[in-house]
């Protein structure tokens, strides 16, 4: 990971959670990232977490796994995350965005539940996505040992 790589080599895995068919943000985020020079492996809507893990196995140089969840089912749809991580899979920052609980109030407890599953970053909006990816990328290329 310490080889200096150009932007064009950057790759991410993108998709929408298993029970979720909301496609519009997925289309737009894919296009936005491609415009920023990323290679986007877009798994589309209704993607089980295991499929994200499979995709990462096929594309091990992916910087992050980006998951949208718009229908309120994030927690249920990501329940397999601890299990997959325990099995040594999905070992890349998992970035989650969308409407992260049923109902019109997302509480801190709702977000904590998701972090407890192992979600690394939660973004309310896709606007900050490239910035976050750049930060993660810079951090990953730091020589110092990483924590957590």
């Amino acid at each position: 990971m310490d080889t200096l790589h150009g932007r064009s080599e950057r790759l991410v895995i993108l998709g929408v959670a298993e029970s979720d068919a909301h496609a519009v943000a997925n289309h737009l985020i894919a296009m936005q990232l491609r415009e920023h020079g990323f290679t986007v492996v877009n798994l589309g809507v209704c993607t089980p977490l295991a499929d994200f893990a499979d995709a990462l196995d096929r594309h091990p140089r992916a910087e992050a796994v980006l998951i949208g969840s718009l229908n309120g089912h994030a927690h249920q749809d990501l329940r397999a995350l601890p299990e997959l991580r325990a099995a040594g899979r999905l070992r890349r920052p998992v970035v989650l965005g969308g409407n992260l609980s049923v109902g019109s109030r997302t509480t801190d407890a709702d977000l904590q539940r998701l972090r407890d599953l192992g979600v690394d970053h939660i973004l309310p909006d896709a606007g900050g996505l490239v910035l976050l990816l750049d930060m993660l990328d810079a951090a990953a290329r730091e020589p110092e040992p990483q924590h957590g």
Binding site: S19, L28, V45
Partner: protein, 470 residues
């Protein structure tokens, strides 16, 4: 697999069902089926209002329906959770046991038809099941047994926006069975209202795309004996275009359907990115009611001021029903509009629909023709969730906010149609050039942008009870 008068359903679902005769008798005994509400609204030229509503728990669902009924809707919904939609009944059932509030709808298959009947009997107005299941057969069987007289969906509109990889051949056949059972029921005097989900992916759907899909599904349904069709069109945001599209439902029905089929235009209130200020959201909801009436809809499906935030609470949902109802009420009877502009829009919508559906209908095998057309992009929808539509179509708003085709991909449009769309989208002299995707993104956020330009500087004050996003 079990067979319920031609409806192939899972053995597990079938085993739990009551006798078919019992179901038919129960349906026939419902005092007010949906079709009658629609007929009355149509005769009165005032659309009834219907909210979406569904929560996981049964007691909560009963309470929700009762609370909403007091807001005066004409029809109430049982909105189904996403797991049930995608036939993952086991997940729905596990979640129902563990944390029912985590379900984004009512898992009717899991709750079963007996509880369904409790819902039906809890309120005086009829219920409709709204879901988004590419294969809604099991759910339909349970809904019928529950005495529910209106059922939404279709082989295209409940596939492409709602799933990733269900072949159209599969969904069209599944819905063919649903329609055929409606035909059987109609023969024994029970008319089920079948609503077609012209809303599709909801965001920037050009009217002719919505209506073309609805025409194809309607023709398929009518062939199977369906007698009552509600054709839903989603409010796009430009009033003349919206009125024209609703009017086109009737003229298209006259052109493509047997007059024995009752067709009711339905307006789905704005289904795109909703404004966040309660007053602005409220105006859009009110306007939906008004446009529904002006366009001759028999029903309007209401939204709420919490749309931008999440599934609404009961109070906001009830307020949405009232607001939409006010939009349909005689308080706005003084409103006129530019009839000739509407007539012009309607002409072109009908022409575009004809150019889309006529080649498909000309084929002897409707389902195969639909599938090939989508595969080849001769039929298409923007922002498809499914890999079975190409989504090469790029919609944009023109200067008045009407939705046009900026790129129509491989749609078989005539030069006249293409010219008109291009002309309407021509940027004004000196406009800074934007990529198509930037333009479409801006158009998706049309009402948000309008909102930010209005002098509504404090969308949420300290005392407001609509929550900010985290």
């Amino acid at each position: 697999m079990a067979d319920l008068h031609g409806l192939e359903i899972s053995a597990r679902t079938a085993a739990a069902l009551p006798d078919w005769d019992d179901t038919v008798a129960y349906l026939a005994s419902r005092p007010l089926p949906a079709v009658e509400v629609l007929r009355a609204a149509d005769a009165a030229a005032r659309p009834v209002v219907q909210p979406r509503c569904g929560v996981g728990g049964h007691g909560e669902m009963l309470g929700l329906l009762r609370e909403l009924e007091s807001a005066g809707p004409g029809i109430l919904s049982v909105t189904i959770d996403s797991h049930t939609r995608l036939l993952r009944f086991d997940t729905a059932s596990a979640l129902l046991r563990r944390r029912p509030a985590d379900l984004n709808g009512y898992p009717l298959v899991t709750h079963g038809w007996q509880r369904g009947r409790e819902l039906t009997e809890a309120v005086a107005v009829p219920l409709e099941v709204r879901h988004g299941s590419p294969d809604g057969r099991d759910l339909f069987a349970v809904a019928l047994a529950a005495g529910i007289t209106s059922y939404e969906g279709g082989g295209i509109g409940y596939n492409l926006p709602y799933s990733k990889d269900v072949p159209l051949a599969h969904s069209l056949r599944a819905w063919q069975q649903v329609d055929a059972l409606c035909g059987t029921l109609a023969a024994s005097g029970v008319v089920v209202d079948r609503e077609l989900f012209g809303t599709l992916t909801a965001v920037l759907v050009p009217p002719s795309t919505s209506l073309a899909v609805a025409v194809l599904e309607a023709v398929a349904a009518a062939r199977e004996g369906v007698r009552c069709l509600s054709v839903a069109y989603p409010q796009g945001g430009e009033p003349h275009q919206d009125i024209a599209a609703l009017r086109a439902v009737r003229s298209l029905a006259a052109r493509y359907l047997d007059p024995a089929v009752e067709v009711f235009p339905v307006l789905h209130e704005f289904m795109g990115v909703f404004p966040r200020t309660p007053e602005y959201a409220g105006l859009l909801i009110l306007q939906g009611g008004l446009l529904a009436r002006l366009g001759g809809a028999a029903k309007v499906v209401s939204k709420t001021v919490q749309e931008a935030y999440g599934i609404p609470d009961a109070a906001a949902n009830a307020a949405g029903v009232r607001t939409a109802a006010l939009g349909t009420s005689d308080l706005l009877d003084f409103v006129r509009y530019d009839e000739s502009r509407v007539a012009e829009e309607q002409h072109w919508i009908e022409r575009e629909v004809a150019e889309l559906v006529d080649p498909v209908l000309a084929d002897g095998d409707l389902f195969a023709a639909v599938e090939t057309a989508f595969a080849e992009g001769r039929l298409d929808i923007p922002f498809s969730a499914s890999v079975h539509a190409r989504s090469r179509v790029v919609p944009r708003r023109d200067r008045d906010g009407a939705i046009r085709y900026a790129d129509s991909g491989s749609l078989p449009f005539s030069r006249a149609v293409l010219r008109r769309n291009a002309a309407l989208l021509r940027d004004p002299e000196g406009a800074r050039p934007r990529s198509l995707i930037d333009a479409a993104t801006a158009d998706i956020h049309y009402f948000l942008d309008k909102e930010s330009r209005l002098p509504l500087r404090a969308p949420y004050g300290a005392n407001s009870d609509t929550p900010p996003r985290y």
